[in-house]
Subunit: 294 residues, 2 copies
Amino acid sequence: MIERYLLRYFLAVVEHGNFTRAAESCNVTQPTLSVGIARLEESVGQRLFHRSNRRVDLTPTGAQFAEHARRIEAQFNLAEVAMKQRQPEAIIRLGVLATLPTSMVADIAKALGGIDGIRTEFVEGRASELQDRLDAARIDLAITTEPQGRLRDSFEPVASEGYGLALPASHPLAERTSIAAHELADNVMLVRRHCELLTATSQHFTARGVRPFFAARSRSDDRILALVAAGVGVTVMPDCFVVPGVARVPMEDFTHVRTLGVLMREADAVPEAVVARVRGVLAERIGGAWGDGG
Amino acid sequence: MIERYLLRYFLAVVEHGNFTRAAESCNVTQPTLSVGIARLEESVGQRLFHRSNRRVDLTPTGAQFAEHARRIEAQFNLAEVAMKQRQPEAIIRLGVLATLPTSMVADIAKALGGIDGIRTEFVEGRASELQDRLDAARIDLAITTEPQGRLRDSFEPVASEGYGLALPASHPLAERTSIAAHELADNVMLVRRHCELLTATSQHFTARGVRPFFAARSRSDDRILALVAAGVGVTVMPDCFVVPGVARVPMEDFTHVRTLGVLMREADAVPEAVVARVRGVLAERIGGAWGDGG
DNA sequence: TTCGATCATAGACAGCGTCTAGGATAAACC
DNA sequence: GGTTTATCCTAGACGCTGTCTATGATCGAA
């Protein structure tokens, strides 16, 4: 197999007409270049040079090969400069909380898609998992809730929201402004398995003597919402989940709030344009916005 | 520096969309290919693939590089087949006796120049030197006199000739049909230092009481002939030396003869066409031809 | 949770590209 | 004729680096 370094040796000899000087120009010794040419001639199956102790000149075959070699070497250089000219494509690995609505993630993706030379990679998980990934430098930016512990100072809150019931638009309680736990005693419940407040919600109902029937458990919010819209049951979820066919009503005495924001290892780990757009989508989609966005 | 094997690895991954199978197709292990791609990406200064454990796909940079890589690979293959198609150029290393006229060597060169795909290399020397080179496989064919010793059977005689005086065309004896040694007593002699018969010639004159003055000694027959034509002196040389301005006359009682022919290690070491043309020139240029040539 | 598929990493090995040393050849010079 | 100089080749040792085996990490699917 003809390797590139042999081509470089060959062209050096063609240029200098002399093994010794060619070797110098390649920064190798003359014997090295000598065996290199021999190797090339063997793999080509042809003699490329007529050697004498006075001068070295190309055979007709060698002359033909020189054209090929020059062309190939030129192509290599072309490829190298072409690659150098490209500015490296930045890849932003974005961790998003699994309990963010699919449509919101889609909005973020759309917002970031418009930035030139930046490619986004999405990873989803729970808040603690996102923190671990951030620590391990496996993501660059997380859209998550306020962290516990060491990364606390790096968190930049953007918007906060409460939790409420999601129930079919045709449900008798759908038009209410508030619903108490005991009113749901006969309702079928759907469990969002990855919900941050799974235990808190459970405790809320048991503390009020309500033991609803659990018809389905899923890690997919989209599936749960589809079931709600289909009239299968009701569930508890953050306020930002708003889809057609599903009514959202606050629950009495259920005052849990989550604050969403961005979390980074260092302030400038991610281009500001990216962070700004993420902030924008969050503020737009979630009621209680923070900071300058109003 | 981008080496060719890295290009092959890269293209294999592009083709298979998968490091593991690409590695198989390259007959290396997956880690080998992995570090290869990493190395390539480093020397290119750009990420070429987006990797996940599900699939591998090209970055925009990678896609551009793939075009270059394919072009280069194609060029390599082109060069390789171009070289394969060429039939190897045969080099015939021809040893010629130094005491052959320059014009005869030129005639041989011309005769062999017409044979396609064959290149001739001339080496000159004395008969014994040519034999040594033939033994050492440093020449393929020798045009020489009948050898002594082991190579005797390999010799194929072609033509034989005598020796005679070479003297200026304007010399008083130029028109004679034969000249005796004593007639040259007042003449200036020129010595052809590499002549096979140097000692024999010397003895011929001293035996007849003639001690000529030696005006010049040279290894170059051409120079000696020029001096003869210029009227500087006379010399003894094989009959085949015939040039304008120099008369050739036989010497009385000087019956030495040399038989010229071709000498090879093996019968088919050299293409018959080459041997035939050499024979042709020899027979044409020298009087007493041998064999079928008449 | 476990399993299978995938790519990355680490350390050992060995192949081969490279080096130093020395040989051969031939032209040029004294 | 012998010596010097310039050139390329060969032989053997060395060491870089390309390759391997073994293992880890990740992710999706059963």
